[in-house]
């Protein structure tokens, strides 16, 4: 399959676990689909209504550390909007160091946004500035039974792969306040796991890691 690949790197990144509000804030080891689609929106400078989007991605990092951070916890008021009460707190937040996100999409319109992104690209928090390293057109070989699934999230249902299982949103609405769209359980599989036999159809990128990574393509409709 002919597709484009955008390589994005950042010094730091942090993808928060949904539903955890206080205490240590761990980071997911792979960004959820909503983060990646948000990144595309940042590059596009607008909210995109995806009728039919096929997208795959791979994420790796060099280290994980914990930062001490002041946060402002605002209580939810009416209609889910912020209220006037809350408090500041010092929390431990995990973050990832020296990261790389490879984004695969055959739609050149999506890819073109990364050639001159409108807003700064961020991988998580507002300080996690990221840069586009390169954009290239590549050919990926189809694999019927993927073995090298890693650095990705895979829908749990029907696949039942090991990994951290998390209910993750696929996208957010552009309403006020924002609503999750398509939350479902995913296996979050970090980049450095062993091969395993699956029945998943995927595409192999030979250039990643030592002997390639099988990229699963998510099919997203709004």
């Amino acid at each position: 399959m002919k597709t484009y690949r955008v390589d994005i790197s950042s010094w730091t990144a942090s993808f928060r676990y949904p539903n955890l509000i206080s205490g240590l804030q761990p980071t997911l080891e792979v960004p959820p689909l909503s983060t990646v689609l948000g990144l595309i929106n940042a590059a596009a400078g607008q909210y995109l209504e995806h009728e039919d989007l096929i997208i795959g991605y791979y994420f790796e990092f060099a280290a994980k550390a914990t930062d001490l951070e002041t946060i402002y916890m605002i209580e939810a008021g009416k209609n889910g909007q912020g209220s006037n009460s809350g408090k500041s707190n010092v929390i431990q937040r995990e973050f990832l160091f020296e990261n790389r996100l490879s984004l695969y999409c055959a739609d050149s319109k999506i890819i073109d946004f990364f050639r001159e992104p409108v807003f700064p690209l961020l991988l998580g928090r507002s300080g996690d500035l990221a840069s586009v390293e390169q954009i290239e057109e590549i050919e990926l070989a189809e694999i019927d039974h993927a073995e090298k699934i890693r650095g990705q999230i895979i829908p749990l249902k029907g696949n039942f792969l090991p990994g951290v299982i998390q209910a993750l949103p696929k996208y957010f609405t552009n309403t006020f306040p924002r609503q999750n769209i398509g939350t479902e359980p995913f296996s979050v599989i970090r980049y450095n796991v062993f091969d395993l036999t699956t029945k998943i159809a995927a595409f192999r990128d030979h250039t990643l890691q030592k002997d390639g990574v099988d990229i699963y393509f998510h099919h997203f409709k709004l």
Partner: protein, 358 residues
Amino acid sequence: MKNLKTQGFILIDVDVVALNNAGKSTSTEAENGVATKRIQKNGRSYTYVSGQAWRYWWRNALQKDFNWGLSPIIREAKVAFTAANPIQFADDDVFGYMKAATEVVTDEKGKDKKENITVTRVSPLKNSAIVSVTSVQVVENWSSMSRHEGDAVPYTKQEYSAIMKGMFSLDLEAVGTFAAYNKTGFKNLSAKLREEALAQTGSSEISDPHLPSAKGEAHQLVRLDKSIRTQRISETLSALKFLSGGAMQTNNMADVAPTFVILATTTSGNHPFSHVATSKGSIDQTFELNVDGIEEILRDFKAQIQGKVFIGHRSGFLSSADVQKLEVLKSQYPGVVELGSINDMIDKYVAQVEKQIP
């Protein structure tokens, strides 16, 4: 709209510091041990300063050296927030805010009613953490508090010497430009503040190119007078010269003002200068300036770079080989690369950006 951004890259060179601490040390045998922030990668340490701490230094420099009246912190019961008034307070404008509140307004029938005036502003200034370029040997040192009679109170702290890198992106279109419509992260002004903003001399309304309304029409943004926006942008960038800060200053005072800086205006949100400082050596211990990388950026992003790229370095910081490479780069790109001392380059970049501001 050209979508202009200032893309900046800095290096700081510090000796025996503990710039940003991480609370109680869990690796010490001492009872009172303070740990410094660091990342362990492949068994080696890389020290860092949170992006949040860098912003704190930046804000303080603007207050001390540019007389910015910082937005007052208002405390009501358990909550604290800034005034969220970017018209009056430049730091609210540049650094962003969130304020959840209600305001009593008079409706059309003359009745008082409570209206939600929750406002948020995404910071036009985004900055990375400041991370050591090379691996760093962190040492644990003894100190004691011993000014009084009786036993001294001993404690330990972690200290290091390092060359550290940071980068930032300042959205030149967003400074002094505010939305008053209801979108998460976009409603910067309450209706009252919007009126106040429009009443300012020289302020105007412009169409928002990014977020059309449900009907597909452009929302209107309030934009302050060009002189105010220019002043806020120039001072934010000039403040780099006066950055100071870091924890434990009495014992570990260090100069955290940049010893190397790259400043450029781009038409893109992409930060191109993230890989210009690298490390080499068997344990990543030697700093190296990637001049070839800078050259690659000048070539690859030629169409997105507006005006000149300013590279400033403090004399004695770079090796003579690196300085020579930069001189060659300057001669290869006449009219594109300016090279000089830190403060001179910051001033010259600020003079350039003042002409570029829309």
